[in-house]
């Protein structure tokens, strides 16, 4: 299991044990973490599972893919550490990962 901390925009923290192999988005949705819409269910087609990855974790989560970057154009306040959480596959290496949620999933 990898312990992932989802931080809502208002500061509320949700610490969730996520099964490796799932995505960071699935870890949130299956545990009812508010603030992740995931309209397309994980196909990188809607940009409503936007998160900000804590900078210290960026090397381990990897960079935005080409399609993902093109989707993030529509996200609310995208930043260099923005990711679509459906595109981050959870591994044991991500145990301790912290992601911050945007104010809204819609711009």
């Amino acid at each position: 299991m990898a312990k992932i901390t989802y931080v809502e925009f208002n500061g509320t923290k949700h610490v969730i044990d996520v099964q490796p192999g799932m995505t960071v988005m699935e870890g949130a949705v299956k545990n009812n973490v508010p603030g992740i819409d995931a309209e397309c269910g994980g196909a990188c087609a809607c940009a409503t599972c936007h998160v900000y990855v804590e900078p210290s974790w960026k090397a381990k989560t990897g960079e935005q893919g080409e399609l993902e970057a093109s989707m993030l154009d529509i996200a609310n306040n995208p930043q260099p550490n923005s990711r679509l959480s459906c595109q981050i596959r959870v591994t044991e290496e991500l145990d301790g990962l912290v992601v911050n949620l945007p104010q809204s999933q819609h711009s």
Partner: protein
């Protein structure tokens, strides 16, 4: 837990002309009898926003119901069956992801925004032709806009549009479940297959309309590299035409209908493109054409109700925005409304509308240019409604108006010959 068959449920005749005229009040009446479920012909209809949203997300437990529509139309072995069953909307396994991955890069928000100049140019040209009339059927006028944009994106000459319109109209009524309609669907498929075969043959022979790459190029590359079969390529192209024709045209007609009731909002659309975005989203909440349909793949238990395997569910995502439990004061049309819930007019789950960002961009650009050229529109006759299941919409919207001249920068766009 109770089986759905044991519940006492309201009945909604969702295929009837009466229902198409006013589905919202019939949903309100049904919800007074059961909070989220009603019976209908062929299965059940979900009447509550939250339940529609939940169930659309259960892709692993439901599948598209095209087989039922094919049987209802006695269409086994037909061209129309092949087109429907190879359509990306009907495919629900790993092939869906493979096909969607081929086209996904073409339909991102970034890609859609890159086509805005083209969209402005197309609508300006259509307005040049139509707006001097001072009165017309808005639905017919609108029918030339999204499909001409799609032609340009695929490198097809816009001159083919008039010849395809009746076929696209027919395919837009694919799910009316009237077996006698099959010959029209067969003819429509034949016309579209011939037109697209000709487009592909021209491209393979090196004849092309656009100097630069267009959306047909990566589709042909995917075919050549084995990413798409010939049948999938053809079905995908027909699908892009059909999906790009009916839905956007019907939404734009709904928007104009809304604007006839709200002239002050319409006037502001002429001044402010950013505001048009709010108007498009509010019109999509107010009502839009889509009803998703699914067959349960398992004995599905939802909110303590058991829905048996192979039951048809209609999920009317296009009017879910009128549910008062999700949208306070849902009858009030207000582009500036503050809301926690968002409309699901483009669907949800793995079959979420692929073209949503293209649709949004062209509806915003289209509304802005229309509001600048078609001043003070008034209803000038009666209108009807298209069948509710499938692609709902207004049928014919006669308006009269005061034409305004083409703005200077729109003129520059039209005279720039870079896009056909």
């Amino acid at each position: 837990m109770r089986p759905v068959t044991e519940l006492s449920l309201p009945y909604l005749a969702i295929g009837s002309p009466e229902f198409a005229r006013d589905p919202v009040s019939q949903f309100d009446t049904a919800r007074a009898l059961h909070p989220w479920l009603a019976k209908t012909d062929y299965g059940y209809v979900i009447t509550e926003y939250a339940a529609i949203k939940d169930l659309l997300g259960l892709d692993a437990q439901m599948r598209p119901p095209h087989e039922v529509f094919i049987d209802a139309m006695n269409a086994r072995g037909s061209r129309w069956e092949r087109f429907q069953m190879e359509s990306v909307l009907a495919i629900h396994n790993a092939d869906h992801k493979r096909i969607r991955d081929v086209v996904a890069p073409m339909f991102t928000p970034r890609a859609a925004n890159q086509h805005r100049a083209l969209m402005r140019q197309v609508i300006s040209r259509v307005l040049d032709e139509w707006s001097p009339k001072g009165h017309f059927d808005f639905e017919e006028f609108a029918s030339y806009f999204p499909i001409t944009v799609m032609c340009s994106l695929l490198g097809a000459p816009p001159s083919i549009v008039p010849g395809l319109r009746s076929s696209l109209e027919a395919l837009g009524l694919s799910f009316n479940m009237i077996p006698g309609f099959l010959p029209q669907l067969e003819k429509a498929c034949e016309v579209l297959e011939d037109a697209l075969a000709s487009l592909i043959a021209d491209r393979r022979a090196g004849r092309r309309l656009n100097a630069g790459a267009d959306l047909l190029d990566p589709l042909l590359e995917a075919r050549d590299s084995g990413g798409l079969s010939e049948g999938e390529l053809q079905s995908l192209l027909i699908f892009l035409f059909v999906a790009g024709y009916d839905t956007s045209k019907n939404v734009l007609t709904f928007i104009m209908h809304d604007m006839l009731q709200h002239p002050e909002i319409y006037a502001r659309c002429a001044e402010d493109l950013a505001y048009c975005r709010k108007v498009v989203e509010e019109s999509m909440r107010y009502r839009s054409p889509g009803t998703s349909a699914r067959l349960t793949d398992v004995d599905l238990v939802y909110r303590d109700v058991m829905i048996p395997k192979n039951t048809m569910l209609f999920l009317p995502n296009g009017i879910a925005g009128r549910d008062p439990s999700a949208f306070p004061d849902p009858e009030k049309y207000d582009p500036d409304r503050q809301q926690t819930n968002r409309h699901i007019g483009f669907g949800r789950g793995m079959h979420l509308c692929l073209g949503q960002f293209i649709a949004r961009a062209q509806l915003e650009e289209g509304l802005h240019q229309i509001a600048r050229r078609i001043k003070s529109p008034r209803l000038a006759g009666t209108y009807g409604y298209r069948p509710f299941p499938g692609v709902w919409g207004i049928k014919g919207l006669p308006i009269e108006f005061t034409p305004a001249p083409r703005p200077a920068e729109a003129a520059a766009l039209v005279e720039d010959g870079s896009v056909a």
